[in-house]
Symmetry: C2
Subunit: 248 residues, 2 copies
């Protein structure tokens, strides 16, 4: 793990790093001691990156309101990472298939399943590395990711026993129902009622497939990109309730 920068403002310390070929960012309380603290891994959306405003805003709130650490890394072919020829070829193929009248949702699902084969081991390595840092430590772990972050997050949460609570959503059952059936930790699952990318029945089927005894679905009107701001408050409360709260 190599640190590229280290800055603090408004009580939040932000460190850019690379872990092998993976570029990432770690947020922690500026005056963190060495008591282990909860860590939330954030999965960014498709076409976005590790410092997307959605990700960065949530990270800052987890640090300042809960004393958590938060980490996000670029997904392959996103942010500071090089293109992946296989993904480009597949994206072009999918585009042609949609234009020829095929449904979008199964194509998205297939693509996310392919990417998850790389991100699941990468994210586990990121957890390993970050939890060895003195100002993070081996505390409880959470995961947050919607849209692409859900497609990649479901197999990750299913595979990684350290994750104790997850916020997922804006994703369907097509690629991930089998992995979802292996998730047993508390889940908050976000649905946009008028999602133009994920058919409603696919969203409900993914919620259904989760094996977690505690899982809450939050649905709101609006399209894929229109999650209401108050769900962010609710996400912060969810992680505070399940991972605990540290003094920042």
């Amino acid at each position: 793990m190599r640190f590229l920068s280290d800055t603090s403002s408004d009580g939040v310390r932000e460190q850019l790093f690379t872990l092998g070929e993976i570029p990432g960012v770690l947020w922690t309380p500026a005056d963190a001691g060495t008591t282990p603290r909860p860590l939330v891994l954030l999965g960014h959306g498709g076409g976005r990156h590790k410092k997307d405003p959605e990700v960065s805003t949530l990270a800052h709130r987890l640090v300042t309101e809960c004393g958590h650490a938060a980490v996000c890394v670029d997904v392959p072919a996103h942010g500071d990472r090089p293109k992946v020829e296989e993904y480009d070829r597949l994206a072009a193929e999918n585009q042609a298939r949609v234009e020829a009248g095929e449904e979008l949702a199964p194509l998205i699902a297939g693509f996310q399943a392919l990417v998850a084969r790389r991100t699941v081991p990468e994210w586990r390595a990121v957890l390993d590395a970050v939890q060895e840092l003195g100002h993070v430590g081996a505390g409880p772990v959470g995961y947050w990711g919607v849209s692409l972050g859900c497609g990649l997050g479901v197999p990750f949460v299913a595979a990684e026993p350290r994750v104790g609570a997850a916020v997922l959503g804006l994703g369907g059952a097509q690629a991930t129902a089998e992995a979802a059936a292996r998730i047993t930790v508390p889940v908050r699952f976000l649905v946009q009622w008028d999602d133009e990318r994920v058919p409603r029945e696919q969203s409900l089927a993914l919620y259904d497939a989760l094996a977690s005894p505690e899982k809450t679905l939050h649905a709101n009107p609006g399209r894929h990109g229109e999650l209401p701001a108050f769900e962010l408050d609710s996400t912060v409360s969810f992680f505070r309730r399940h991972l605990g709260r540290n003094q920042p």
Copy 2:
């Protein structure tokens, strides 16, 4: 409006009253001044009453955490109110029809629609009377009711322009979809995913029918009576966000 008792404990003042033939209970901060405060009308469940623990717990939290007033009255044929021969006859008929193989949900819906013809004008009169009290005043108004409290609450919220935010749920579209289409205020809508009394598709159809631009569905696993405790926290936050907060 006639007051029967007036007691205070732990910062909460509780007054039993009758308004005409309607028995009710009003909760306010023990040291309330004369600044108008938010008022939440609570609709109790079927077979329950105005001081049901579910109702009373929520009322205490609204008073102590938000500085709100809360009021609940017995639904006809519930609590301290006399039996209604027509309801008894209908209940017996419905029982026989269920035993003969009819679906339960439409029968419940029909019954609730009948009761709502009485409760809508009663609850409007209760609001009128309570808002004239010096320690309540004409502040913002909310409504909370699930199960029977939803079946009666949907037509009430649709009819009463003072209601600015509502928590509803555990109810289906069969009796109330038309009224729901006239509701435009922010709604929190609670669904139990394995509700044995309200078919899931009926719940989702009622959520769908609400005309509110801001409406959030919260679904949790479990049967009709198994709403998780953390939804109570969420309900209190919802009313605080929409009705504001007074110093108790």
